[in-house]
């Protein structure tokens, strides 16, 4: 080719022209432009490759689902740096939780320890429950109804009632 500018390009040079035409020598590029045999040979291979590409597109279905990004912004830290920040945040949250549980007055301003406060409240609730239970045991009806309830301790009323229902003497 170098000695004879009219010599045709061989298959290797045709392939090189398809990979990257700028890799051909200037003389070869010029020849390729004007030579119908070489350009036809190149075009034939180019069309085959283009056809392959077209067929691949043709036989690829359309996606049924579109890409959806998460509604909540994802944490955008990258690599170890991102994970390091996330770890630090978790550790800080754990520390705050532990301090809150062990030293509650640090945030509430109440100097009474959390355990004692809780115990006193529970004891008061228990006492109220016991008092209510005893009250119900003694007087299960409200005060307004207790006035019309007969005295169940007297047996006379019961005898009168029985006599009325089933008289002894006919």
């Amino acid at each position: 080719m170098k000695n004879n500018p009219s010599a045709h390009l061989d298959v290797q040079r045709i392939i090189v022209s398809l990979v990257d035409e700028s890799d051909l020598a200037a003389q070869e590029r010029e020849h390729l432009k004007v030579c119908p045999i070489c350009s036809s040979s190149r075009n034939h291979l180019a069309v085959q490759l283009h056809g392959l590409s077209e067929e691949a597109i043709r036989w690829t279905p359309e996606p049924r689902r579109r890409v959806t990004l998460p509604a909540i912004e994802v944490f955008r830290g990258s690599g170890w740096k991102g994970r390091w920040y996330a770890g630090l945040a978790t550790a800080a949250a754990c520390l705050v939780l532990v301090i809150t549980l062990t030293v509650p007055h640090l945030f509430t301003g109440n100097k009474q320890p959390y355990g004692e406060l809780n115990l006193a409240a529970e004891m008061a609730a228990d006492e109220m429950l016991i008092a209510t239970t005893e009250d119900i045991e003694e007087n299960c009806l409200p005060a307004s109804l207790q006035e019309i309830v007969p005295d169940t301790g007297s047996t006379d009323d019961n005898d009168d009632f029985l006599d009325f229902v089933a008289p002894v003497d006919a």
Binding site: I15, L18, H44, L45, Q48, E55, P61, V67, L69, S78
Partner: protein
């Protein structure tokens, strides 16, 4: 006419660069526009490798979620496309690894066959599509690993030599050498498309 097309391409690239820069700075709608631009290409790329629409859809979703989550790692907006394709390639690799592992336990060849391409309601189309992918896979399997990747990225995914080099983290001259060998085999194998290529002219 060609100048107009070139100007449009340059403008489109410039727009993409602006979108990428905004997305890196945290602009969600810019990233959504980038998804719109690239999801078709990424889907085709993934589908050509996994041959299942459902799996390809899942993987495409994963690719964009991964990209969205690690945008801050992208140093140069111009590398966005190559970066996205590299994420997609890695996702496909992970998927194949999982698939191989799963096949050890449960998946039979019959089950895999059922998940093969679903092109549409037309059974002729379905068959023709299946035949095309079978022929293509037979050809591509004959190429060594890197040649396969380079050939697919160039002619199926339409990446430039520079983009392929970035995606595969190889030099451009290495990519050209692999591509040259792959094309040579393509020519020697006489890969048939099922129709006369001259019709396309």
């Amino acid at each position: 006419m060609q100048d107009d097309e070139r100007n449009n391409d340059t403008q489109a690239l410039r727009d993409i660069k602006i979108l990428v820069r905004a997305a890196v700075e945290g602009n969600r709608s810019s990233f959504e526009q980038l998804v719109e631009i690239h999801q078709g290409g990424i889907f085709r790329m993934v589908y050509a490798r996994v041959q299942s629409r459902t799996d390809a859809e899942d993987l495409v979703q994963d690719v964009f979620l991964k990209a969205y989550g690690s945008l801050s790692a992208l140093r140069d907006p111009e590398l966005f496309k190559a970066w996205l394709y590299r994420i997609a390639l890695n996702k496909v690799k992970d998927f194949r690894r999982r698939q191989r592992f799963a096949s050890l336990f449960s998946f039979s060849e019959e089950e895999k066959e059922q998940d093969h391409p679903d092109m549409g309601p037309d059974s002729y189309d379905h068959l023709a599509g299946k035949q095309f992918w079978t022929r293509f896979n037979e050809f591509i399997k004959k190429l060594p690993g890197v040649q396969q990747q380079v050939f697919r990225l160039r002619f199926l995914d339409h990446l430039s030599i520079a983009e392929i080099a970035l995606t595969l983290e190889k030099s451009e001259s290495s990519v050209k050498t692999h591509l040259y060998r792959a094309i040579e085999k393509f020519k020697n194998e006489g890969f048939s498309l099922g129709h006369d290529p001259k019709e396309a002219l």
